[in-house]
């Protein structure tokens, strides 16, 4: 299944963990909130993606079916 990474911005409080765990796809803006690369998540990053999703302290990072 094709999936994309999205942040629920109402849940995100800018911990920034995701950008440390997944710098390939996530950077932080000047206020500390994640900017997620658009597009499909490459298979090769699967393990890191899952880690970033489960380690978000407020579970704001989501792996969703591609829209």
């Amino acid at each position: 299944m094709k999936r994309e990474l999205r942040v629920d911005p109402t849940a995100c409080s800018g911990h920034g963990l995701c950008a440390e765990l997944l710098p390939e796809l996530i950077t932080l803006d000047e206020w500390g909130y994640p900017i997620v690369a658009r597009g499909l998540v490459p298979r090769s990053l699967d393990r890191h993606v899952r880690r970033a999703v489960t380690d978000c302290p407020v579970l704001a990072l989501k792996l969703l079916p591609a829209s």
């Binding site: 911005p9 109402t10 995100c12 803006d29």
Partner: protein
């Protein structure tokens, strides 16, 4: 020529003399030309008896789904701003496995818009007919009308609902729900939160409201004007609906028109009407279309455009919910936009980091650009922040705000050069664009 009628809002207090001014009853089979939604004399609420003698009883189909192909042929799109095809929403909700909820959206949080309040005040039964027909089409028995916080309007609607219940005109009972006076209160997911007992704040999608909305049930939300069109299409058919408007954007719509001399009124007009027929453009510099999430267009360009997304989208704007403002020459478009941008920043629900952080900074930078000899970094900062907030909210508030601000930077670029030289076209800065007195201070203001 412009069609339709100018309607003042707040509507004048109904008195005994209004009864005599109520429209003479036509025959039920008479399909109105224009105006369709607002009776010609305006301002006098239409009671159920007058409504029924003019339009006849709502033509229930006796079965869910039957209205949907009719609406598809009519080509009706949502009149709340997004212009989404109405039949597709009905189809999606009608196919849900759980019984859906149907809500008429009359929150109208846009400070420059009066059309929904005017329609609800003057023609409540058209909206309520549409609500019943929509509920029948998707097989719903949970029906509500979400209405701008105005005690007289809500009281009038409760009376209309009671009138209908007594006359057994409805298939499902209708609940009137109060919408807090917030810019975003009518955003679909904010509406669903409010009706579910939470503050009227937008939430993250998915799930979309048509999948999981009010108390987790699939929810059909239509703007009240959309519902009124539905009530007439069900009676007079798609060909009648399409006899006004353009091929791609059929039908009529309500517009709240703000003239440069300060006059403000609601008119009904066909899509495709030249903007110069709706607004007096002489002595103006720019037109705002689509409200405070919309875009400025120079008057010289607006003079060649029609009220259509085809024309307005090419200029970065859109028809939206039909707010049109003509900004007089001699006013500072940057100062006007800065004032509204500050309001929009304060109306952020504050839930999403980029919007919460970015919008106040964008507003402050625009304030700087509105001041004499502004810091030249203000514009570049603003453009960077605009790019940082776009597409990063749970709703379209950041995107709409930057659309509005970006269009001002472009259309009023001459005025920005003036400010750099220490001059302004309007040093007096009397406010022109309408804004409410209060903005949200804490969570209680969203309930």
């Amino acid at each position: 020529m412009t069609y339709g009628t100018t309607v003042p809002y707040p509507a004048p207090s109904p008195g005994p003399q209004d009864r005599a001014r109520t429209a003479p009853a036509g025959t039920a089979s008479e399909a109105p030309d224009l105006p369709r939604l607002l009776p010609v004399h305006g301002a006098v609420p239409v009671d159920l008896r007058t409504h029924l003698s003019r339009y006849g009883a709502p033509p229930y189909f006796g079965h869910p789904g039957k209205l949907i192909p009719v609406l598809k042929v009519a080509g009706l799109t949502g009149r709340g701003g997004a212009a989404f095809p109405v039949h597709r929403k009905l189809q999606a909700v009608g196919e849900a496995r759980t019984r859906p909820v149907v809500i008429g959206n009359g929150a109208e949080g846009e400070p420059a818009s009066d059309k929904d309040k005017s329609l609800l005040w003057i023609s409540p039964h058209l909206v309520l007919d549409g609500l019943q027909l929509a509920a029948e089409a998707v097989g719903s028995e949970a029906v509500g009308l979400y209405v701008h916080r105005n005690a007289r309007l809500q009281e009038r609607l409760r009376a209309a609902v009671a009138e209908r219940a007594a006359a057994r005109a409805d298939l499902a009972p209708v609940e009137i729900i109060d919408a807090p006076p917030r810019f975003l209160a009518g955003e679909e997911s904010a509406l669903a939160s409010r009706i579910s007992g939470q503050p009227a704040m937008p939430r993250f999608k998915p799930p979309r409201v048509f999948e999981r909305g009010v108390v987790g049930r699939p929810t059909l939300v239509h703007n009240v004007e959309t519902l009124a069109h539905m009530a007439l299409i069900a009676r007079y058919g798609p060909a009648w609906f399409r006899s006004v408007g353009t091929r791609d954007e059929p039908g009529s719509m309500l517009c709240t028109v703000h003239q440069a001399d300060g006059r403000r009124g609601v008119v009904e007009t066909g899509l495709g009407t030249p903007l110069r027929d709706l607004l007096q453009l002489e002595g103006t510099q720019a037109v705002l279309s689509g409200g405070y999430h919309g875009a400025w267009v120079p008057s010289a360009d607006a003079a060649h455009m029609t009220l259509s997304n085809e024309d307005l989208k090419a200029a970065g704007g859109f028809v939206g919910a039909g707010v049109l403002v003509a900004l007089p020459a001699g006013r500072c478009g940057i100062a006007e936009t800065a004032r509204v941008a500050r309001y929009l920043a304060l109306e952020s629900a504050g839930q999403c980091g980029p919007c919460f952080n970015g919008l106040p900074r964008i507003a402050a930078a625009l304030d700087e650009v509105a001041s004499p000899r502004p810091d030249p970094r203000a514009v570049t900062d603003m453009i960077r922040w605009a790019a940082l907030v776009e597409g990063r909210g749970a709703c379209h508030h950041p995107d709409g705000t930057t659309r509005f601000v970006r269009s001002a930077l472009h259309v009023f670029r001459e005025e920005i050069r003036n400010h750099s030289a220490g001059r302004c076209v309007d040093p007096a800065r009397e406010p022109f664009l309408p804004l409410p007195a209060d903005t949200a201070l804490d969570a209680a203001d969203w309930s």
